[in-house]
Each structure stands twice: as structure tokens, then as C-alpha cells.
């Protein structure tokens, strides 16, 4: 067993793309964790989705050995975290398993919104922070300016900042030494009743639920009877593993260590992220603090295209939730789409990732409805309730007022781009709170309706600032707004899954655009399809998808028959990916048409 004094637990945090995963690669290299054959860029981004999109979605833990200058061998538990705000829950959980954090800052971009947000999270969690200025190899890198920002904006001592190039492997030795010198060893009490914090988990088809835990006190050994303090489940430990960098069996995990715990748990609901593991006998009296529950920001319905996949979707959501503690869901029924789930996400990217993971990892074919925020409705009889789906909005006559969630957006931007950013915020119904100069950057704060930012605001900020602007937000409060429900009727039948809640002034425009967009998505059918947008009983826009008039294959003799049949089969398979609502075949993408308005 390793002496606690020679363990360092730390995570790598930063704004998106500042080079966390690449830095992790260099730390893996410097500690010879991987064979030549295994090495690849952003090794810890293991999911295909992460590699395709070039971003980290899941925090990943890995244990490294490093012989320091004092000649001793140290154990380093590293957690690489995602930078995108939608995955910030991964960061906040990782922080609680660590004593220190490497705060990576891009030497060109400087401090951005998520740099600040993550730095504050780490400070709040009481972590030792080592600022790491990365990408110093870039010709436009300005590490001195960034060092100054670290002092001015975050208030950390820039004398502690290290300069590295994760790409070229510069400054890595010094960084390793700083990790050992500056980050305190874990403080756990080996003799106290055992306590381990479950900060991640996943489902393995062979062994069931795998928990990733940080041991704070005592020691867990294979064969021990343990109890999950919140769910009150007792099990025996079957195996324990450390990940260095692949799972390797060990006989025990002691205070200060991080590792995988397998305890024969097959029931998905028996494990909860943030729960504390203790011994079944002589266990701890008090659980560890756990995590603050996350508040989903956007909601959308997820439905199987094939009704019979409902149970599969349910199981898939349970399994995915083990691995994505920020996902929430509850059953929902739609007149148009049947049985499905209303899911809550931290943001739009999160919702996209969840849908993709469900489709890929669980082989499902899903329809997602357009994301919406949570509105508060005050009815005529004074009752107040919240809705997470436009379909749940009662008839206008029963509503006294609707309130929408407001946020305080913090936008970091170089001075030359302030103009366009203000313009964008105004367009999105924003009210300026204040503006401040921080080093070479301007921080603009705006109060905005959440519904105006969830979908594409971040991309828009990026595009009006040529990539130099960044944005973070906090929920403020709920405020009344003149909102209405926009319904879509297909051949006269309202399709609840297509309803939207929109600002009154935008309703006509959105309605017109929406039916126009739907027309592009809905293929011609054997009969005419009428599309209408309506507010209450008033139709505000209409269009039609003309009936298919001809669909014939001319020749069909010996040589062509197989080919023609395969073509028919292919067309049929294409139809299977559509949802039949009434008689009309509606493709999956059409349910997200509301997001495609404006980009024709």
C-alpha cells in the first residue's frame, strides 16, 4: 500500500479547447503510462463521439507513477475534465475527488468565461490551484499578458504559473514537480470507519454497475461487505481496480486512493452518484457531503420511432444516467408520438450528446422534440406551477400570466468585438447589467431570457467575435413575459410534439418560418399534406406539401428485378425512420425544425 504522503490527486480544468486532454497525454507520456502502440492524441477522450467532435464529454480518471527529484515514487491520480459548460457537472464532481487542480489557460486566448467559472469552482472546493499557461509554442502566444490576467482577473499569484506547450511537451517535468511540491497529499484517516465517495459509474454488461470512487477514510478490501449510505444497499466487494491507464485488479483501496469498485450490482437504481460507501459493519456515521444536485436548464421529449422500443429506451436511459449524473428524465405521453420521456439537460449540446449516445450505445432510433426551458404558469385561479413542455401549457383563457427563467450572462470579449456582442444581446431581448475592463478584455454582463440563449447563443457569440468571445451564465429568477403557445397542425390535427412557446411579437414570423421549414422536411406523400401554424384557434400561417403524383419504375425484367427490389427496400427503410402521425410520415429531423429557422 502506498504511503498517503506520496499520493497526489488532481484534476485538469480549463475553458473548452485550452488543451487539457493534450496536457494529460503529455503527463501519460512523461510517466511512461502507455506503450508506443497505445499512444494517440487525446488518449483519454475514449468515446467515438468525443473523438469525432474533438471535445471531452466525460471526465476520465487515470493513475500514474512518477519518480520525483527526491528519488521517491509518487502515485498521481489525474482526472481530465470537459471544458464545455454543458458538462460542468463532470468538473464539479471531479473537484471533490481531488486536492489540487491544474488550471490550464491558452496562451493566445487568455482567460475566458469557463476559465473563470471553473477556477471559482475549484477555489470553492478548497483546492490548491496551479495555473498552467499552455500553447506557448504558438507564434501569437503572450504568456506574460496571460500571467497578468491570472492575477487581475482571478486573483491568483502569477508567480506560481507554469508555462508549457502540451503539444510539444515543453515544461512537463517542471509541471510534474510542481504537482508534487504544491498539491497537498490526501488528508484521510486510515483508521477511521471507511468512507468512499462515488463520483462516477457506468454499466458493464459482464459485471454490472462499476463505481468509481475516491476513498477518504479507512480502507476497502476485496470481499468486504459494504453499504451504500443513501440507497441503503448492502453488497460484497467482488473486485477493486486502479486505472493505470487500463483497469488493473488490486486487493484494496485505502484512504487517499481512487479506483473502481465492483460489487455485483445489477439493479441500476441501487447506485447513486454522490453516495458514500462505507462498511456494512462498523460503518461511518455520517456520509460525505456528496454533490449538489444539478438543475437541468433545457428539456425535450425523447421518443422511440418504433413504439415497441419504449422499454429499451427506458433501460438505456437508466444505464446512461449511471454514467451521466446530470441527465434527468420522467415518462411523458404525446398524442402524436406516443410513450416517451421528457428529459432535462444542462444545455443544448448536452441534449444532442445524450440522444447520440442513446442511439449509438444502445442502438435506438429516436425522435427528439425541440428543446424548451422551464416556464412558470400562474393560472386565473391563482395557482402557480411549472411546465417543461409546450404541450403542457393550458388554454390561454385559463392563464393569468407566464413567467420565464432569466439568466445573468457573463461574456468575455476583446474590446473590438463589444459592439456586435451588445447587438446580439439586444436582439435576444437582453438588458445590459454592466461592463468592466479586465486586462485586455471586456466583461459584459447581460440579463437575458434563458430561452433566447439555450440553443445557438454560444455559437453566435463565437461567430460575431471570430472565436474570441466566450460566455457563461447563472440562473437569475423568473419574470413575466408575453408568451404564447404556437401550435402546428398537420392535415388539421394539432401535433403536440411540434408546439412551441414563443414571444408574442415573434409568433407570426416564427409560425411562418416553421411551416416553411417543415415543408422542406416532410417528403411528398401519396396525398396532399396541409401544414398550419396556429395560436389558439387562429391560424397564422399555412402551406401544403403537394401530393406525390408519380412514382413508377419503367422497366422491370430479369436483370433489373433484384436491383429494383433493393431500391424499394431502401425506400421502405427510409420510411421506417419516419414517424407516422395519423397518416402522415414525418421524418425525425422535422421535429427539430424549430431549431433550423433562419438558416435556410
Amino acid at each position: 500500500m502506498t504511503d498517503v504522503q506520496r499520493i497526489r490527486n488532481f484534476c485538469i480544468i480549463a475553458h473548452i479547447d485550452h488543451g487539457k486532454s493534450t496536457l494529460a497525454d503529455r503527463l501519460l507520456d512523461a510517466t511512461q503510462a502507455l506503450s508506443k502502440r497505445e499512444r494517440r492524441a487525446q488518449f483519454l477522450d475514449k468515446m467515438d463521439l468525443e473523438r469525432e467532435r474533438g471535445i471531452t464529454i466525460k471526465a476520465q480518471t487515470v493513475r500514474l507513477r512518477h519518480r520525483a527529484r527526491d528519488g521517491e515514487e509518487y502515485i498521481l491520480n489525474l482526472i481530465d475534465t470537459p471544458g464545455h459548460v454543458d458538462f460542468s457537472y463532470e468538473v464539479s464532481r471531479a473537484l471533490q475527488a481531488c486536492e489540487g487542480a491544474l488550471l490550464v489557460i491558452d496562451a493566445v486566448q487568455g482567460i475566458e468565461a469557463q476559465t473563470l467559472a471553473n477556477a471559482y469552482l475549484a477555489i470553492d472546493a478548497g483546492l490548491e490551484i496551479i495555473p498552467v499557461i499552455n500553447k506557448i509554442d504558438l507564434p501569437t502566444a503572450d504568456p506574460d499578458k496571460v500571467a497578468q490576467e491570472i492575477e487581475d482577473v482571478i486573483g491568483l499569484d502569477s508567480a506560481d504559473a507554469l508555462q508549457v506547450s502540451a503539444k510539444e511537451g515543453k515544461g512537463i517535468e517542471a509541471l510534474l514537480q510542481a504537482i508534487i511540491d504544491k498539491i497537498p497529499p490526501p488528508a484521510g484517516d486510515l483508521s477511521a470507519p471507511s468512507r468512499g465517495l462515488i463520483f462516477d459509474s457506468w454499466f458493464d454488461p459482464y459485471v454490472g454497475v462499476v463505481m468509481l470512487g475516491r476513498i477518504f477514510d479507512g480502507k476497502l478490501e476485496v470481499g468486504d461487505s459494504i453499504r451504500m449510505m443513501e440507497t441503503d444497499i448492502e453488497r460484497d466487494i467482488q473486485t477493486l481496480h486502479v486505472i493505470d491507464p487500463h483497469p488493473r485488479k488490486v486487493s484494496s483501496l485505502a484512504a487517499g486512493e481512487v479506483g473502481m469498485i465492483v460489487a455485483g450490482i445489477k439493479t441500476l437504481t441501487e447506485v447513486r452518484i454522490g453516495d458514500t460507501i462505507t462498511h456494512a459493519k462498523n460503518g461511518a456515521a455520517e456520509p460525505l457531503p456528496g454533490f449538489v444536485a444539478v438543475k437541468p436548464m433545457v428539456f425535450s421529449g425523447l421518443y422511440p420511432v418504433e413504439a415497441e422500443d419504449y422499454e429499451d429506451l427506458k433501460t438505456a436511459l437508466q444505464k446512461l444516467q449511471l454514467n451521466d449524473a446530470s441527465l434527468v428524465y420522467e415518462p411523458e405521453t404525446s398524442a402524436a408520438l406516443g410513450f416517451g420521456f421528457r428529459c432535462g439537460f444542462l444545455g443544448f449540446l448536452h441534449s444532442e450528446i445524450v440522444q447520440e449516445r442513446l442511439e449509438r450505445e444502445y442502438d435506438l432510433n429516436l425522435i427528439s422534440t425541440a428543446p424548451t426551458v422551464r416556464y412558470r404558469v400562474i393560472s386565473q385561479d391563482g395557482e402557480s406551477f411549472e411546465i417543461e413542455s409546450p404541450a403542457a401549457l393550458p388554454d390561454a383563457s385559463a392563464i393569468k400570466r407566464i413567467e420565464e427563467p432569466m439568466i445573468l450572462a457573463t461574456i468575455h470579449v476583446p474590446p473590438e468585438y463589444v459592439g456586435p456582442v451588445l447587438g446580439l444581446c439586444q436582439e435576444r431581448r437582453g438588458t445590459q447589467r454592466d461592463m468592466a475592463h479586465h486586462g485586455s478584455r471586456v466583461q459584459v454582463r447581460y440579463e437575458l431570457p434563458l430561452s433566447e440563449v439555450v440553443f445557438d447563443f454560444h455559437d453566435k457569440i463565437k461567430s460575431v467575435t471570430r472565436g474570441y468571445g466566450s460566455f457563461d451564465y447563472d440562473l437569475l429568477d423568473y419574470r413575466q413575459a408575453p408568451l404564447v403557445k404556437l401550435d402546428v397542425l398537420v392535415n388539421g390535427d394539432p401535433i403536440d410534439a411540434l408546439s412551441l412557446i414563443v414571444h408574442k411579437d415573434a409568433a407570426f414570423h416564427r409560425g411562418t418560418e416553421l411551416v416553411r421549414k417543415l415543408k422542406e422536411f416532410i417528403p411528398r406523400q401519396m396525398f396532399e399534406v396541409a401544414l398550419q401554424a396556429a395560436i389558439g384557434s387562429k391560424v397564422i400561417a399555412r402551406t401544403t406539401v403537394k401530393a406525390l403524383r408519380k412514382n413508377v419504375t419503367a422497366k422491370c425484367y430479369g436483370g433489373d428485378i433484384s436491383r429494383k427490389r433493393k431500391l424499394l427496400e431502401k425506400q421502405k427503410a427510409g420510411k421506417k425512420r419516419m414517424k407516422r402521425v395519423g397518416n402522415v410520415e414525418i421524418p425525425q429531423e422535422a421535429f427539430l425544425a424549430a431549431l433550423k429557422l433562419g438558416d435556410s
Partner: protein, 391 residues
């Protein structure tokens, strides 16, 4: 599908030049050299010898020489093929022997020879009687040649003539197509095949179409042409017995009907497709296609292990059922419920109750009291949409 007959299809891959919309197995052979011709016919006959066994005991119902341009063969070669096929299979009454001919001048002179060789039906690839349309289609012949060829065919004694017409050719206006129809009717063939130009991937036309250079008639235009064709041909006594085929009573193509009825066909030659009869190993038959590569095909001559095994498709019940429906629905007679039930154990409703109800309800399908099915007028226009329900 109890059937003791066989149809033989012989593919002749040579064409004077390759048309820009063609995706058949063809080779350009401006002049077919006697050696080349003999080599190919030898290969065909040796393939016949090798493969006849799987069709042993069947009686010959039809022989179809298609292509390509079979009329590029000399009558002596055609005679050799016909003779050997007759020697291989006993005839089931009178045998329909069709030869596809292009209306070139060379072929025209050979028509009496083909007749003497035993051909009794000519399918003439006229396509259009308009020079400009023929030119836009990249065809080698001109309208005047087509007229001469048709007259020559009659003169040679062919009393079964079929004429191919194309519709929706680039730049083709409704009036131009109507003139084609008029001239076809005036000539008075026994049979007319009418094909809408289809753009096949990989052809020069596909490329031109993608670039928007083809100026194809729009949907409304094509619909008007189809409507005109049906109307004009019906008035002249031709029944639309299949989606693309019209005939005077009693002159429906015997050979082509075998495909829609899923009867065995032995296909010989490059790229030829065979439908083997059902066997113990393949209770719903096998479809196999020969290599589309001429050199490879010739190479396989005389070898026991031959080129035709490529892509053998052994039917399972579901695939066979789907084909049975969509092929039968192409014909005016439609799907014979009893015959279907004999083969698959249950009538169509046993497999597609909801689909049939829906399609009948939508006016696309007509169901006779006994369960026979056929397309309605509207169903014929949307046939591919209907067929999707069954594959």
C-alpha cells in the same frame, strides 16, 4: 409456381456505340469482327451445355435474344443459337423467339435472314420518330432508318412486331411525343413498350442531369405524356397489360411475362440473369447473375466452375413473397390470390392485412371478392409507393 417450362434469355453485349443513358452490360463494337462474334457465340453455347442440366426436363416456352444489340450478330450465328436451344429443350407448343433489333441499315438487310433462322418476333428499338430526340438521346439511327426498318420487318414476314418508344427524353415536348405516338399507331405494330427515360447512376446522363443540363420534362409534363399514351394506344386497340407494355389482344410478350410471373428463365451470356426453378435446397428458387465483364465471361468458357455463380441469391420466403406481389401488380391481371396462397401457404391478406386495407382505402389497390389484387389507375402512377408496402 408449379411450372414445367423454361424461357431462355441470351444476352448479346455488343452495341454500335454506347448510349449515354444505358447501364446494361454492353461493349461498344463499331464493327463486330467475325472472330469476336464466333468466340462469343461459342461461349454462349458452351454455357448452355453446362447449365441446361438445372433445367432438365423443362419445355421451352420462349427464347429471347436481348442486349446490347443482338441484331449485330449475323443470321448464321442467330441460327446456331436457336438451333442449339431447340436441341437442348423440347418445345412447349409454339415457341416465341424474339430478337431485339436496332433500326440500322445493316440490321435491316439481315431481317429476312433472322426470319429464316427461326426468329418470329422482332422488338425494334425505335425510341422516337423525331431526329432531334434521337440525337439528344445519343442514338445511332435516325427516324428515316426506323421507318425503313419497320417496313423491312413486315416485308420479311414478321407478323409479331414490337416497338420501343421512349418518353421524357431531354427536351421532349408533349407535342413531339404525341407525334411519336401517332406514327407508332399508324404503323400498327402488335406490341408497344413505352419507357420513361430513367437516369441511372454512373451514366453520362446522370452527370449531365446533376449539372442541370438535361432539360428533362417536369412531372406535370411526364404525367401528360403518360396519359396521352394510354389514351391514344387504348383507342387504337392496345391494352396496357403491364406498366410499360401495351399489346393488341393475344400479342402480349410471352417471354417477358415469365419475369412478372416468376417462372424459370435460363439466362446466358455476359451479365445475364437466371431464375432457377425451386429445388429442395432453395424452395423459392435462386436468382443468379453472370459476370458483367466480357473478358472474364469468355475466360470461363469450358471451365466447370463458371462465372454464373456470382451473386447467387437464394430466396427466402419473405423476399419471394415481396417479389411475387410487386411483380404481379405490375401486370393488369394483377396478383392471383389462389396461386399466391398455393406457394406461400396463405393469401396476401394473411401477410399484409393492414397494408391492403390502407391501400384499398386510399384508392391505390383494388381487391376482387376472391382476394385477387391489382393496381387502380392512381396506383399505377404511384406503383413504387405501393410496392414498398410489400417488400
Amino acid at each position: 409456381m408449379s411450372d414445367d417450362s423454361v424461357g431462355v434469355y441470351v444476352h448479346v453485349p455488343f452495341c454500335e456505340r454506347v448510349c449515354p443513358y444505358c447501364d446494361f452490360a454492353v461493349v461498344a463494337a463499331r464493327r463486330l469482327s467475325p472472330d469476336q462474334e464466333q468466340g462469343y457465340v461459342d461461349a454462349l453455347l458452351s454455357e448452355l451445355e453446362r447449365r441446361a442440366e438445372s433445367y432438365a426436363g423443362r419445355r421451352l416456352a420462349s427464347l429471347y435474344l436481348g442486349g446490347g444489340t443482338p441484331s449485330l450478330l449475323r443470321p448464321a450465328s442467330v441460327a446456331r443459337i436457336i438451333r442449339r436451344v431447340h436441341e437442348t429443350f423440347d418445345a412447349a407448343g409454339s415457341v416465341e423467339v424474339t430478337l431485339e433489333a436496332n433500326p440500322g441499315s445493316l440490321e435491316r438487310q439481315r431481317l429476312p435472314g433472322f426470319r429464316a433462322a427461326g426468329v418470329n418476333r422482332i422488338s425494334m428499338g425505335v425510341q422516337s420518330f423525331s431526329d432531334i430526340t434521337l440525337k439528344r438521346l445519343g442514338r445511332a439511327h435516325r427516324a428515316a432508318e426506323a421507318r425503313l426498318a419497320l417496313a423491312a420487318a413486315r416485308e420479311a414476314g414478321f407478323d409479331q412486331l414490337s416497338l420501343d418508344l421512349i418518353l421524357a427524353a431531354p427536351g421532349q415536348a408533349l407535342e413531339a411525343f404525341e407525334r411519336d405516338l401517332e406514327e407508332a399507331v399508324a404503323f400498327g405494330p402488335e406490341h408497344v413498350s413505352l419507357y420513361e427515360l430513367s437516369i441511372e447512376p454512373g451514366t453520362p446522363f446522370a452527370l449531365a442531369d446533376a449539372r442541370g443540363q438535361l432539360r428533362r420534362p417536369n412531372e406535370t409534363g411526364v404525367l401528360a405524356m403518360l396519359e396521352q399514351a394510354e389514351h391514344r394506344l387504348a383507342a387504337a386497340g392496345y391494352a396496357r397489360y403491364e406498366l410499360s407494355n401495351f399489346a393488341r389482344p393475344g400479342f402480349e410478350a410471352v417471354h417477358n411475362r415469365r419475369y412478372w410471373e416468376r417462372r424459370p428463365v435460363l439466362g446466358l451470356g455476359v451479365g445475364a440473369v437466371s431464375s432457377d426453378p425451386p429445388s429442395a435446397r432453395a424452395p423459392f428458387g435462386v436468382r443468379r447473375q453472370n459476370t458483367r465483364d466480357l473478358a472474364r465471361y469468355l475466360d470461363c468458357t469450358g471451365r466447370a466452375e463458371s462465372a454464373e455463380d456470382r451473386d447467387a441469391e437464394i430466396f427466402d420466403a419473405a423476399t419471394a413473397r415481396g417479389e411475387a406481389v410487386f411483380l404481379a401488380l405490375r401486370t393488369a391481371r394483377g396478383l392471383d390470390s389462389a396461386r399466391f396462397s398455393d406457394e406461400f401457404g396463405s393469401p396476401p391478406r394473411g401477410f399484409w392485412e393492414a397494408s391492403i386495407d390502407e391501400l384499398v382505402g386510399r384508392g391505390l389497390l383494388e381487391e376482387a371478392p376472391g382476394g385477387d389484387l391489382c393496381l387502380t389507375d392512381r396506383g399505377r402512377l404511384l406503383s413504387d409507393s405501393v410496392f414498398q408496402y410489400f417488400v
